[in-house]
């Protein structure tokens, strides 16, 4: 499983970073980006789905 942040859609709500700091980080402007090329390590799948389901801008997607 991989997560991906669409930088065009991200407005810096930082919900993903708050929910899953293992998978996302934010830059100085608050824009989110995925860590480890988006690779979701085992056991973090639920957190990845939670991040998707809480992004107000629909900026995060998952690919299996």
């Amino acid at each position: 499983m991989r997560v991906h942040v669409d930088r065009e859609k991200c407005q810096g709500h930082n919900r993903c970073y708050a929910l899953a700091p293992e998978l996302f980080d934010v830059d100085d402007l608050g824009n989110a980006f995925e860590l480890n090329d988006g690779l979701v390590s085992e056991g973090l799948e639920d957190k990845a789905r939670r991040a998707v389901a809480n992004c107000p801008e629909y900026a995060i997607s998952i690919s299996e």
Partner: protein, 404 residues
């Protein structure tokens, strides 16, 4: 003085966000409009629109071509020819449009990143503890007046590097800008002309120019746009924005959350027992009791969702109404503090996403954590004495509580 306004008889054609019925409980009004007239119009304030569905609120927030942010507070006074024109506006970047908006916003964003805000958490936690200590000997006190309002006020005063004793000055300014919208255009213009707020800010700016500090005011004075320092009007406008947007809003969120917990023993006991749930719970409290409604002005005549909008019309951009749309949130009217899917719009949507959202979230979380740690059991001392603010920032202004 506030002009007495006629009571609203029909919400679909004559709504008014300062009507006592709206102030007391706006949710049934929005529910009815969603079913009958999802983009309502009122002739008040010279013509105002009100979308109440999530998809329509989102569409307006994303459409910076047809809707300008030049003024974001609906009143009888529209921006005049002497006011700073778009794309800058009076209080950049909230009153700015693209492309200037992105530049003005980029300047500020680093000061509000999650990591910078995390550094303010110990101060905030200590402040909450001191506020609770101050009422520790009493069984009854006002959770809005004696607790909630002080937290964002003192944090933003610290961030700007202003004297802590100026808290009362700030409170008066906030009331003038956000709550006295029922005044006539003449009354409102007279307050602007009076210039007290500008004078206060100019004095603080002069102090910081003489004696730079490690704070947000000096940060703004040092900031550069295209190789030039910001114009004094820009610095002052942004400081006013941070002061006003940073206080009333979070005060409202903390107050509404405590008001909810006072009436919901299951939720507050669960939060006391499961501290890890707090991060999820505050998002749900922000969804259900979102304090902030923004506004836009229609930039040019066009048709939106079958309604003919005209240049210069106001539009109330109700993120609180979007957050209660059952077409977007299952059980939208129920507060579920463990709600797993929650794309709430309490901090707005699109390019104007609240720049202080990380600050607000930290203050709300810490305020509730410290409260439930100290007082897992409390109730409203007298539910009829709870009062709610008027205008575009909704929150309880008095919450008499009894500690159990």
């Amino acid at each position: 003085m506030t002009t007495e306004r006629a009571r609203v008889a029909d919400w679909a054609t004559d709504f008014d966000h300062t009507d006592p019925e709206w102030i007391a409980d706006p949710y049934p009004i929005w529910d009815e409009l969603r079913a009958t007239c999802p983009v309502a119009h009122s002739d008040r304030y010279g013509g105002t629109w009100l979308p109440v569905r999530h998809e329509d609120v989102a569409a307006v927030a994303y459409d910076t071509e047809h809707f300008t942010s030049r003024s974001v507070v609906v009143s009888e006074l529209r921006p005049g020819p002497d006011d700073l024109p778009a794309p800058i506006g009076l209080a950049p970047p909230i009153t700015s449009d693209p492309p200037f908006h992105a530049m003005a916003r980029r300047l500020l964003l680093p000061a509000f990143s999650p990591k910078r805000i995390a550094a303010l958490e110990p101060f905030t936690r200590q402040l909450c503890g001191e506020l609770l200590d101050a009422v520790a000997t009493r069984k009854e006190f006002d959770a809005a007046v004696e607790y909630a309002q002080h937290i964002p006020l003192r944090v933003i005063v610290r961030m700007l590097g202003f004297p802590q004793e100026d808290a009362d000055v700030f409170r008066r300014f906030i009331r003038m800008v956000l709550e006295d919208v029922g005044q006539s255009a003449e009354e409102r213009q007279a307050q602007v002309d009076d210039g007290e707020l500008d004078d206060y800010m100019n004095a603080r700016i002069a102090e910081h120019l003489d004696n730079p500090q490690d704070d947000l005011t000096t940060f703004l004075l040092d900031a550069e746009l295209d190789g030039n320092k910001l114009a004094p009007d820009h610095v002052r406008g942004t400081m006013v924005l941070l002061m006003i947007a940073g206080i009333d809003t979070t005060w409202s969120a903390i107050g509404a959350s405590l008001w909810h917990l006072a009436q919901n023993p299951v939720d507050r006991r669960r939060l006391a027992a499961e501290p890890d749930l707090m991060a999820t719970a505050i998002e749900e409290l922000l969804r259900a009791y979102a304090p902030v409604t923004m506004a836009r002005l229609v930039a040019n005549d066009f048709e939106f969702k079958g309604r003919r909008m005209r240049e210069g019309d106001w539009l109330l951009l109700s993120f609180p109404a979007a957050n209660r749309d059952p077409g977007f949130f299952p059980d939208a009217d129920k507060v579920q503090i463990d709600r797993a899917e929650n794309r709430h719009a309490a901090f707005g949507l699109g390019i104007h996403r609240c720049i202080g959202s990380n600050l607000a979230r930290m203050e709300l979380r810490v305020a509730l954590e410290e409260w439930v740690k100290r007082y897992p059991d409390f109730e409203l001392a007298n539910p009829t004495e709870v009062t709610w603010s008027a205008g575009q920032v909704r929150g309880p202004r008095s919450i008499p509580v009894r500690i159990l």
